[in-house]
Symmetry: C2
Subunit: 335 residues, 2 copies
DNA sequence: TTCGCCCGTCGAAGCGCTTCGACGTCACGC
DNA sequence: GCGTGACGTCGAAGCGCTTCGACGGGCGAA
């Protein structure tokens, strides 16, 4: 292993000068810096991560806690993970992966051992048991999603409430008067996952405001469940002409089910979704949707974290504005 | 921060004794060990990861390199990631996530800075450019998948060749004489991804051996592509009665397409797949399939790694035997 | 010319832990 | 009764890096 003293010797300077030359934390003459850089390059010098962490009390690693549980759409999580890793690397940090199952003990462990400098949490619940711990930890944290009581914590997410509203408003503008929301699996609501509830709130509020008749149906993430929900929907609300889907895996099966039940999309039934654009575009009938900007959320989360690490104050709440894209699945209400 | 000297003081022993008592690397009297453990617990002592890594030259972190590229089925990757993290934790290790995009430079970085003790690589290509680097690295490595030239490296994977064979054999036993393989997207073959090619080999070999007529069709991972492939299949091989699918996202669309083209599954057409059991079971017609045991592969990979870290010799190749589960999608060849 | 200051560099002191060698003690065998 | 281990514990020496204070030399201001 080549160490800093090796570089120092080769460059004809002291180890501390090498450190300063490479980190830029003190002014070093152009000439010396070049010599140090050359020496480092030629020797293939890589500072030992542990030694650096010990001396500087910075590990340059952030923790990312991901949910691997039922009811969350895996591709969204993965896209998110990818964007966090990429963004972290841009800031010269690496990412340590923790699973939700590790629980609070896992968070405490990586924070207290100084394995990581900061943490990002996904899948935050409305009453998340980890909140007190996060407050007591001395490390900066960013949460994806909004718990009920978030004071003092930094949160970021798509503005799901407004996303729900946008979908309804869009349908209302097209003249639809009876709408339904096909939501996440029941367990997601039972857990009190914030974003799912916010969609419901937005959906309901916008429907009320517009004087629409509305209903909410949770739905398991299976094609069979989608078919059952489709049937129930038509039975319960025969006048239904607009549907909002907030449940990626059932979006396609649901549209299929409607089609099979004799309803044309968008001829008889308009469908909008809250899902990644990629999914919305890939369907036979491209679906009008509010995008789920996982990559953007991940990126911003990392940037917030870096600012906090740098000692800057950041806003407690960051709500990414929803963007609705019209596609082929919505049309004016049939006469 | 509470450090080892704090624990030592409280327990009335020296720091080294605390270290030995907690690590068990030297015999310590029952009585002393208990005192140390109590002190550590009461103070909430957590050894500083950097300091430990520096002194012991072990970081207790392993790197996991995941593919975030086109043509790989995300849920499979994620399940794999989950099992690696869980297994690593059982061995008191954490997982640092790297993306394929980081490339060789990323591997070298985490290895040379001693950030990680060992590495797991997913999505290995037949002629993977990273092989020479892995050989030169001083850290143990396990690869998921088999490159062409694997001497000196440890690999593990499902036995895809035999998996392909099993599917054909199953169809052959049921009397089918004309079969087709619907495979991964073209780019996967172009890249030379080992497992995809092995399935083709197994498929072809078994068909030849059994005297079956066979054809191979790569297929994009979209429903539209699935429909096109279904049509082409029926056009090119009118006598077709058996299909093997090795492409998770198109499995359902493909069956739908066949149904729409007037073929009943399994009445007119038997379908088998190589995919996670979960997916095979979730379809309207549960599909006879060879399981993709991602969790098991991940777990075994970690165990191999730990054995190598412990200095043990491990087999270079580990092939997990395929397991075919009969479900509703295969039946004897129609008369 | 002299004083003071800043720039560029060095030396040394840790960061918190592991580990090696050493040492005292006790039990046992001869 | 004494040598001999084995056992349990301690002290000290690092692991490789960052960082703080100090210092010499050059330059501008007085």
């Amino acid at each position: 292993m080549v160490k800093i003293t090796d570089v120092a010797r080769r460059a004809g300077v002291s180890p501390s000068t090498v450190s300063y030359a490479l980190s830029g934390k003190r002014p070093i003459s152009e000439e010396t810096r070049r010599r140090v850089e050359t020496a480092a390059r030629e020797l293939g010098y890589r500072p030992h991560a542990g030694a650096r962490a010990l001396a500087s009390s910075r590990s340059n690693v952030i923790a990312l806690v991901v949910p691997l549980r039922a009811g969350i759409h895996v591709p969204v999580v993965m896209q998110f993970v990818g964007s966090v890793v990429t963004a972290a690397r841009r800031h010269d940090h690496d990412v340590l992966l923790l699973t939700q199952e590790e629980g609070e003990e896992g968070l405490r462990r990586v924070a207290d051992t100084a394995l990581v400098d900061a943490l990002i949490l996904m899948d935050v619940q409305l009453h998340d048991p980890r909140l007190p711990l996060l407050r007591s930890l001395d490390r900066p944290t960013v949460m994806i999603g909004f718990p009920k009581e978030a004071d003092g914590l930094t949160c970021i997410d798509l503005d799901f409430r407004t996303a729900g509203e946008r979908c309804v408003d869009h349908l209302a503008q097209l003249g639809h008067r009876v709408v339904a929301l096909v939501g996440s699996p029941p367990e997601v609501y039972v857990r009190g996952t914030a974003f799912a509830q916010r969609v419901v709130q937005g959906f309901t509020a916008a429907a009320d405001r517009g004087g629409l008749v509305c209903a909410v149906h949770p739905c398991e993430a299976t094609p069979a469940a989608a078919r059952r929900v489709a049937e129930r929907l038509l039975r319960d609300q025969p006048a239904l002409t607009g549907v909002v889907v907030h449940n990626e895996p059932v979006l396609e099966p649901l549209i299929d089910a409607f089609t099979r039940l004799g309803l044309r999309v968008p001829g008889d039934l308009s469908v909008t979704a809250i899902c990644p654009d990629e999914l919305a575009e890939s369907l036979r009938v491209p679906v009008t949707s509010v995008a789920l900007p996982s990559a953007e959320v991940g990126e911003r989360a990392v940037e917030l974290l870096m600012e906090k690490l740098g000692g800057a104050a950041v806003p407690e709440a960051t709500l990414l504005p929803p963007r609705l894209t019209r596609r082929a699945s919505t049309a004016p209400r049939p006469a």
